[in-house]
Symmetry: C2
Subunit: 230 residues, 2 copies
Amino acid sequence: MQDNEFPVNVVAVLGGGGDLGGGLAYRLVRAGYEVVIGSRDAERARSAVEALRQRCANMGQSDVKCHGTDNVDAAARGDMVVLAVPYASQRETLDAVATVVAGKIVVCATVPLMPPKVARVQLPAGGSAGKEAQDQLGEGVHVVSAFQNVAAAHLREDGPVDCDVLVTGNSVAARSAVINVAGRCGIVGHHAGPIDNAAAAEALTSVLIGLNKRYKTHTGIRVTGLSSAN
Amino acid sequence: MQDNEFPVNVVAVLGGGGDLGGGLAYRLVRAGYEVVIGSRDAERARSAVEALRQRCANMGQSDVKCHGTDNVDAAARGDMVVLAVPYASQRETLDAVATVVAGKIVVCATVPLMPPKVARVQLPAGGSAGKEAQDQLGEGVHVVSAFQNVAAAHLREDGPVDCDVLVTGNSVAARSAVINVAGRCGIVGHHAGPIDNAAAAEALTSVLIGLNKRYKTHTGIRVTGLSSAN
């Protein structure tokens, strides 16, 4: 029933030319979704699509449903819209797509990092990027925050991702839809509460960046204690 | 060298009559530390000590170095002082012990939960309980935030705890000392950056509380991707 409420065939990835967006687009295409990569610059999106096609071809996959266009067109075409732009561009991007995402799920994957101290938690005035997105778009859009803690490098590999994803949002059905999509992409997602809780995953990203620097690796997290519950 | 900077033989646990404080005190005693349990009410602390002695006796341990007293006396006697009081009592407790903790490590284990919505992230105006503690005590005290994500129920068991601890604080040596103590207690701690990053662990607690309610279990987290680094 939850899947019926939010059927997902086409996923738009705004900022799909970036590290995280490109990684998510790769996973989505590999999972069989039709993906529309958006960028402020449609040419950049098309280049990202070409790179993605090449990568899939190298893995033996030729039936790739992937297109590149500008952010607004991409958002209009997606059943689900993933926001993977730098935090500095989030407000402007959402302003541009606000009218075409009405009633849809917008997955906020942005992290409010404040360079140069990206390993220091510096949450924004609005509490979190996810909360700010929900406040900006209003209750007619189902903002779900997810994917902050997954290393882009691991998204570009095949196989299960050794990092759980905390999925927050005010609509349980919308969260379930995102958890379902993540699962098809080899990523375990957990219901992590209302959009206010996006602060947890966003703050955690700076902690993981610090660990990555310290140990020259790509860290993530797993939720423990669920083995008997799942 | 780091251990020499902060030698730890006696650990004070303020709020040691509570759930988390009692669990930490049990682990510390079992690990061979001398523990001074503090409470606003010294009688309550002595009751907690009696319960702890009984618990250790049941496990075959009779040489328990544990005492109960008021918070100020406990803080004065500890080489390391663990703050495990409810968030609502944090400021008042730190005011009371400020002069006796100068130069020491104060481990802030409090979580700024705002009942009744304890599964909703609601970080305080100061950013986090840990940051507020450091700001209140000043740079002459080494505030280290830790232990927020460990279920008290698991601390009362023996054996390794299936939850990593994010250890934040502005002094790397102080963090290392806490990670060392945690390790002796069967708990893996990670350097998680400056005290600003306490927000990550504190916010995560509300997420885990939500998961615990949803799945009727005690969840925690593990940091992944470190296997080759540790």
